[in-house]
């Protein structure tokens, strides 16, 4: 944690939606760091703010959403307040993005070659022939068979899994150091999900690129990520190395999430499932947002908001579970 700044540092990020009834705070003091070559898993129930964090990092937050506080730094340089044109040049070049649904991520009327070559030439000084050669290399890298032929095909001629590989190739086109992958396997067949996560992992290793892997599936995180950040109602409530968090979750919510991993469910048979649902943005309870669903909530939890500790394995909870495997 010393010396050179991390590749990506998000510092007390606040995102607000301006509505007719006043501002709604969707992200509340979100802080996270990713080093080069590292995979950070971001996990949490739907609506926790995972996609929003990724969207803010790639600078695609559209009104009425806006960054209301905090900083985002890439290699120590602030990027959250860059002018639009500077931010555009950075997108795709230094930060790549992968979205959830490969069926809708690609332009249906352009060949994948046209989409790849345009992206490559936007960021790299290559002529058309060299860009095409590079596009074929990228398709090979992501495991598309017969790339010299497939490059001239339209998206609808590919299966879902193959399309997600094309999306990954597009995200890599500008040689980014960081890839924000928002639920890259959620829309895919279960049998293909593992292939895509393996591919992401391999790319991260071979290229030394960092990945922010957003998912609501703790199992994917356990298999893929180096570190994990658990989000709940717009906040990070626990973060740390993936073995530490999965082996000894300290936040009651994280413990509940563990029950969703099939391989761990056997051992967790005694653990209760979390009842209730995450609060809507308009109805976030005072104190710890999790308190209405927490069996160990005290009077303090209903009044005072716990802050995330500054530790390698940190938790934001007044009554964290004591160390050791599952308390």
């Amino acid at each position: 944690m010393s010396g050179a700044p991390p590749l990506l540092a998000v510092d007390h990020l606040e995102v607000v939606f301006d509505t007719r009834h006043g501002p709604l705070r969707a992200l509340d003091h979100v802080s996270l760091e990713i080093s080069a070559g590292e995979i950070l898993g971001v996990v949490g129930e739907s609506g926790a703010g995972k996609s929003l964090t990724g969207t803010a990092i790639i600078g695609l937050l559209d009104p009425p959403g806006r960054i209301a506080g905090g900083e985002i730094r890439l290699n120590g340089q602030r990027i959250d307040n860059l002018p639009p044109e500077a931010m555009r040049k950075l997108r795709g070049k230094r930060i790549g993005a992968i979205f959830q649904d490969p069926l809708t991520s690609l332009h249906p009327m352009l060949t994948i070659g046209e989409q790849l070559i345009e992206t490559i030439r936007t960021h790299l000084p290559l002529d058309a022939a060299a860009a095409r050669a590079r596009a074929i290399d990228l398709l090979t890298e992501v495991g598309i068979p017969a790339p010299e032929v497939r490059i001239d095909h339209h998206p609808h001629q590919f299966s879902g899994g193959m399309r997600q590989r094309v999306v990954i190739a597009l995200a890599l086109a500008g040689e980014p150091d960081l890839i924000v992958a928002d639920e890259p396997t959620t829309a895919l067949d279960v049998s293909i999900q593992a292939q895509i996560t393996t591919l992401l992992k391999r790319i991260c290793r071979e290229r030394g690129a960092a990945v922010m892997l957003v998912t609501h599936d703790m199992g994917v995180i356990a298999e893929t990520a180096d570190r994990v950040a658990v989000m709940y109602a717009g906040r990070i409530i626990e973060t740390g190395p993936v073995e530490a968090v999965t082996r000894a979750p300290r936040h009651p919510y994280t413990r509940g999430l563990m029950a969703s991993i099939p391989s761990m469910r056997v051992r967790e048979a005694s653990l209760h499932q979390i009842d209730g649902a995450m609060p809507r943005l308009t109805a976030i309870p005072p104190g710890c947002a999790f308190n209405p669903r927490c069996l160990g909530a005290s009077a303090r939890c209903r009044v005072e908001k716990p802050m995330l500790e500054a530790l390698p394995h940190a938790v934001a909870c007044w009554h964290p579970v004591a160390g050791g495997p599952h308390g």
Binding site: I58, L60, R88, K89, L90, R91, G92, K93, G96, A97, F99, D101, L103, T104, S105, L106, H107, P108, M109, L110, E118, T119, T122, H123, H156, Q157, F158, S159, V167, L170, A171, A173, G174
Partner: protein, 330 residues
């Protein structure tokens, strides 16, 4: 697909028969053709003789059948007014109307598409608001009023453009064109603009709506996430996705433009089919009126059917369904 084709064709035939029936009724019952064709001193024998020669003594259904059969061969009889074959009269006038419609279509795309894109991507800007406002004006102002305003401004006051006629034309076989002479091109501007004004606003609002929808799609979001420049995102990626409905609507509107050209042609004394029809009405020249009705309807129905069929053929959803087994995107 075949069932769709057959259904669509039957539909078209049905509409044409209905129109033919209407035209026939006008022909048969608006004024007595015998009275119109003979002078007042004609004897009863002469009348009966003509009535028989015209087949008016036969049963209603036989008469209608003959009418339809003749119409299919392009035989609409003789104009009462100038004793020429009606079909020849109309065919002579067709190029003038068609060129006017072509110019209006071109203008509507050339002006409507950029305005639509602009008002979609700069939605909040003053310019976009102004365009919206003017487009409402454009829709509510009748085209003859606009044509007269144009004539007052550009022909009478500024004297830049001719107020009536086609200018000099060049004959290419049976076709006559004003596009090859300077005066012919100048003469096309005002009527073309007048006829296209409604269409411009139509294209513009369509492009705007389609663009707004496309800009919200995931593939545009992903294109932005890859850092592609705005120009490419708007025109190469988003607009491409909007052109399909624009082409469809433009194709369908050609029939409408031919019909509405009637007003524009009257204002600018443009020697097209519409003007012919208006003159025919003032002289109660029923064969010309009936023929115009049938020919314009035929163009209309043919275009509609063709557009429908092409659309079914190239609809990406149909294609993608067949190939990938999933319905998505547009």
């Amino acid at each position: 697909m075949l069932a769709f084709l057959v259904k669509r064709l039957l539909n078209a035939v049905g509409v044409m028969l209905a129109v033919a029936f209407l035209a026939f009724m006008i022909f048969r019952f608006v004024g007595d053709p015998v009275e119109l064709m003979l002078n007042e001193q004609a004897s009863q024998a002469q009348r009966d003789e003509l009535r028989m020669r015209l087949g008016l003594d036969r049963s209603f259904f036989v008469q209608f059948g003959t009418f339809v059969f003749n119409a299919m061969r392009g035989d609409f009889g003789i104009s009462y007014r100038n004793q020429q074959e009606v079909f020849t009269l109309i065919v002579e006038r067709f190029p003038a109307t068609f060129e006017l419609v072509l110019v209006a279509t071109f203008l509507s795309l050339a002006i409507g598409i950029p305005l639509g894109v602009y008002s979609a991507i700069r939605r909040e800007s003053l310019g976009a608001q102004a365009i919206q406002f003017i487009s409402v004006l454009g829709v509510s102002l009748p085209s003859f009023a606009l044509g007269i305003l144009f004539i007052l401004l550009f022909s009478v006051t500024l004297q830049w453009l001719p107020a009536f006629g086609r200018g000099e034309t060049v004959a290419l076989g049976w076709w006559t064109t004003g596009l090859l002479t300077p005066s012919g091109r100048l003469a096309l501007i005002l009527p073309g603009l007048t006829l296209s004004l409604f269409q411009i606003t139509l294209v513009m609002r369509l492009v705007r709506a389609e663009m707004l929808e496309t800009m919200r799609t995931e593939f545009i979001r992903f294109a932005r996430a890859r850092g592609l420049p705005d120009g490419s995102i708007h025109f190469r990626h988003a607009l491409r996705n909007c052109l399909m409905p624009v082409i469809t609507v433009t194709g369908l509107q050609i029939g409408n433009l031919i019909a509405f050209a009637l007003v524009t042609e009257t204002v600018f004394q443009w020697p097209g089919m519409g003007l012919l029809f208006v003159q025919a009405v003032t002289f109660v020249d029923i064969p010309v009126m009936a023929a115009y009705l049938i020919i314009v309807s035929f163009i209309f129905v043919t275009l509609n059917t063709l557009v429908d069929l092409t659309y079914a053929l190239v609809d990406p959803r149909l294609r993608q369904d067949a190939l990938a087994g999933g319905a998505h995107g547009r």
